[in-house]
Symmetry: D2
Subunit: 142 residues, 4 copies
């Protein structure tokens, strides 16, 4: 199963006056996880765009289980939830650095579009790459 | 029905290199809508905190229908979705300035906690205020 | 003298775990002030771009005098500092809502560029508009 | 000379509709550099706070030389500019990943305060640590 793990250090910019990480910042870190998962699949999202595709978000969800604090080291875990004809879902879990406590769980759904922002079938260079990696057990970066 | 409408002007800080508003910023604007709905109920969220309560997010969801652009004027519409024993849900729609096209729909769920972050029953000064406003048809600010 | 005054309400997203507004957010509000100053001059920055120009920042400075808190109403005051051949400077003061206490003072310097990002002379439709408004005493929006 | 080098990967959240990194995000990365410089000195800023001190910004400046793009890898270089009786200055340069082209140069000045936000002399556990590291040539992390 394709799974990426990326570390994030919380800075003051990420926190709010309640003394914890402001809720939209976890969703911003979902983007980091997603980008690093692509890189682990030997692609980059920038390269997907160069091929003439875009992947705008159609949906995002986050479930907040436990707050993160300033200077905490977090682990963002990203997996592909599903690949449909014209959309793709990523699942995320944000953990403490030891992967003992899940702090936030969530997902995002993305449409595939061409340069005129029309919805298109996911190009085979992506679906093939995912199938191939799933068969071989995927790669596990860090 | 309690409903707040607040206007937001998109600035460059809110946009991304796709030329549209970055997806977490709509969720940040949900906070503005929620804060203004409280103000319209003759409370402020700051005052709720002074009474010894907090309302941390437990859940947030956004469905992206159509992107907003730089300098666009948007309308954030906020309603109370439900009030349960220890949690409250807000529903949001972000519209173009003429309220003709919904751009983003979403909701957030919040727990009520005391100063030690223990979940508590929603204080009656809030539930009474909401009931009273719903009976009188609520107020409509802008 | 051209001067714009725009109000900003501090939300949780703007604050940090020190309990005050995170320092880069004041600089983001400088952008709001600058945009509203253009609007007060019967232009928009979006329209300047449609004419084929850009105004990338070359410099920004902020001096922090006193911190702003969650839910505080602030006044962003923006003036043109100077207009040179190919650059323009804006000066900003962020006040409490009663304009009694200056919280942040700063400035930004912007180059004028064409669509290939080459530095160009400021177009006369802008310099003429500024001169004209300065002679007539400018307009004072809010 | 104490100098920290930390790498940052630009994500969409950092960019704006001009297709480049939004200017306040470089200043947010100054915070990352500063935090990592402390860590390299075998302290953390969080620990300094636990000792009863704060280091609020009094001044920040950035000079923008060349824009960074989506997915670019950047190098944030942070040095101590000066240490005065009650204030400290950090100097920053943000480079491309190969340290060939400086993109942004800047600095921040911080006051030392106690828990009541009164300005105090910098504690000797910090000044001694800096002096000691400067004599031994400092450490070079990455």
């Amino acid at each position: 199963m394709l799974c990426n793990q990326t570390k994030i250090r919380v800075i003051y910019a990420d926190t709010d006056a309640m003394g914890i990480v402001y809720h939209t910042n976890y969703i911003k870190w979902f983007e980091i996880g997603r980008g690093e998962l692509f890189r682990q699949m030997d692609m980059t999202y920038a390269w997907v765009e160069e091929q003439g595709y875009g992947m705008p978000l159609t949906e995002v969800y986050a479930h907040y289980l436990s707050p993160a604090q300033y200077d905490q080291l977090l682990l963002v875990e990203t997996e592909i939830g599903y690949v449909k004809r014209a959309s793709i879902r990523f699942n995320y879990t944000i953990w403490d650095e030891f992967r003992e406590k899940a702090l936030v769980e969530g997902h995002s759904v993305h449409a595939f579009v061409d340069q005129s922002r029309r919805i298109v079938r996911i190009p085979s260079f992506i679906t093939d790459r995912i199938k191939q990696l799933e068969q071989t057990g995927g790669s596990h970066g860090g």
